[in-house]
């Protein structure tokens, strides 16, 4: 035991990279990443529910524009979308004078917009698949009770679709976390941005990136566990009784 603590002391004493200053950069990066991913997921979810309902609509003039939106955002790389929204907006003359500029000036909001639109597109398609997969019997039963379309959507289709969509949506959340690593290309100091800074400062790629990879792993584990817990609760009725 003393051996280990001695070894640990020597490890910390001989290390120039993980000082309070660089750990501070990592901490700020963690906060930025969690904020960015969480806010874009929440906003994306709020957008995706009505879009998914519209996307499942029988009326083509409702479903087609939504399909075009999801097709464009799922059909192009997130990095390109981020570049277009961050660097593209400044080519509108006079954007600096509009009320939008205080937001667009920061790297955070263009990144948030790009991530939100991207995750909303994927989530829309996940929910739309779940809505389409609603068993006919549930719908017929709801009609037999005399439910209106809106009531049936609210009480029958959406709750059952949410449950079915849960595993796929959990994946989307993890993908979003990992996709957020590109935010540092537009100067945002997220976790990856902090790692790139430490790497460039100390020419220490292994230390800088292994450390940040470990943090991403921890974040992914918490997301996995949260969704496993949620599935256990919400899908309890589907498990074999015994």
């Amino acid at each position: 035991m003393p051996d280990i603590s001695l070894w640990f002391q020597e490890l910390l004493a001989g290390n120039v990279i993980f000082t309070p200053t660089t750990l501070g950069y990592y901490w700020d990066g963690l906060v930025t990443t969690v904020q960015l991913v969480f806010l874009s997921l929440v906003a994306g979810l709020v957008l995706a529910v009505p879009l998914a309902i519209g996307r499942s609509s029988r009326h083509r003039w409702i479903s087609l524009p939504i399909y075009l939106y999801t097709y464009v955002f799922r059909g192009t790389p997130l990095l390109i979308q981020l570049y277009i929204i961050y660097y593209g907006v400044v080519f509108f003359d006079g954007i600096q004078q509009t009320f939008l500029w205080p937001l667009l000036r920061e790297a955070f909001y263009p990144a948030l917009i790009a991530f939100t639109l991207n995750t909303a597109a994927y989530t829309t398609e996940i929910f739309r698949g779940a809505i389409k997969a609603t068993p006919r019997g549930e719908i017929e039963a709801a009609r037999a009770y005399g439910m209106s379309d809106a009531l049936m959507m609210r009480r029958i289709i959406l709750p059952s679709a949410f449950r079915r969509a849960l595993p796929a949506y959990g994946n989307e959340v993890i993908f979003m976390l990992h996709a957020s690593a590109i935010a540092s290309v537009v100067t945002l100091m997220d976790l990856t941005g902090a790692a790139r800074f430490v790497y460039a400062r100390f020419y220490a790629p292994f230390e800088a990136f292994l450390f940040v990879a470990a943090i991403y792993l921890c974040l992914t584990f918490s997301i996995l566990y949260f969704f496993r817990w949620l599935e256990k609760r919400l899908l309890a009725h589907l498990r074999p009784q015994g």
Binding site: Y87, V90, Q96, R105, A107, M189, R196, Y199, A200, R201
Partner: protein, 255 residues
């Protein structure tokens, strides 16, 4: 007979060689062109640049004639060792690795960093007060990044870019208030490419050495210590009598 001739020619050549090594009156200098504004061809096709002007001034001071020999960068040190020329004056950074093979003169310039802001910027000089709450752009991982991070990260926000081009775009877009980068790069990408839109703010920065390095030196063959010494003395003289400043202003002046 033939053999004797070869030997005697060799002997003469060697005698000439040693004589030359002792006392140069004609110095051939290797240079890799172009690298504006250090060495390049002007509109008239003549070699010009800071290295060229300073090199010619040094030769004049020493009292030797100078000849510039163009050489690609890859082969510039082998060319010196192969006696294609006697010195290299081509924006060569002094470092330990090169010291193993060549002899360096004293550093004759350290390429400065400079602050660039949009023309008419409210930042007129560089200090902690004027940079408070400003956003500064730097290239990630450069010495300029380290310098700004260590000096101003407490008061200003620092954005780090992979390329100078991205940084210029954000300076134009008014996302950045000011950028700090190698003067030469800034001159090419900001001052020359966008006339009248940008300006240099404050003094150029080339110290301390821990950030900006030892600077550029003239390289000689290891044994030419006497020649290197003559160049060092001439450099000191030119720095004293103002010739150096005059040449420096010609290429790195504010105007």
């Amino acid at each position: 007979m033939k053999k004797l001739l070869t030997v005697s020619i060799l002997g003469v050549a060697m005698a000439a060689g040693t004589a030359q090594a002792r006392d140069y009156d004609h110095v051939r200098i290797g240079v890799d062109v172009p690298y504006e504004p250090m060495e390049y061809r002007g509109a008239d096709g003549e070699l010009t640049g800071f290295d060229i002007d300073l090199g010619n001034a040094l030769c004049a001071e020493i009292g030797v004639t100078c000849e510039w020999i163009e050489q690609e960068w890859d082969g510039i040190i082998p060319g010196l060792l192969a006696r294609n020329y006697d010195a290299i004056m081509s924006s060569m950074s002094i470092n330990e690795e090169r010291r193993q093979t060549v002899l360096f003169s004293d550093s004759y310039i350290t390429i400065p960093g400079a602050w660039f802001a949009p023309a008419g910027s409210e930042i007129e000089e560089i200090s902690e007060e004027t940079l408070t709450d400003k956003s500064i752009g730097v290239q990630r991982g450069t010495t300029f990044d380290s310098y700004v991070t260590d000096n101003y990260s407490g008061v200003a926000s620092i954005s780090r870019y992979s390329t100078a081009d991205d940084m210029v775009l954000d300076l134009q877009a008014q996302r950045l208030d000011i950028v700090f980068l190698e003067f030469i790069v800034g001159q090419a990408t900001l001052l020359d490419a966008h006339e009248d839109q940008f300006q240099v703010v404050g003094e150029m920065v080339s110290e301390p050495e821990e950030y900006f390095g030892e600077g550029f030196g003239i390289a000689f063959r290891q044994r030419d210590t006497a020649l290197a010494e003559r160049f060092n003395e001439a450099l000191a003289t030119l720095k004293e009598d103002g010739t150096y400043d005059e040449i420096y202003q010609r290429y790195f002046g504010d105007e």
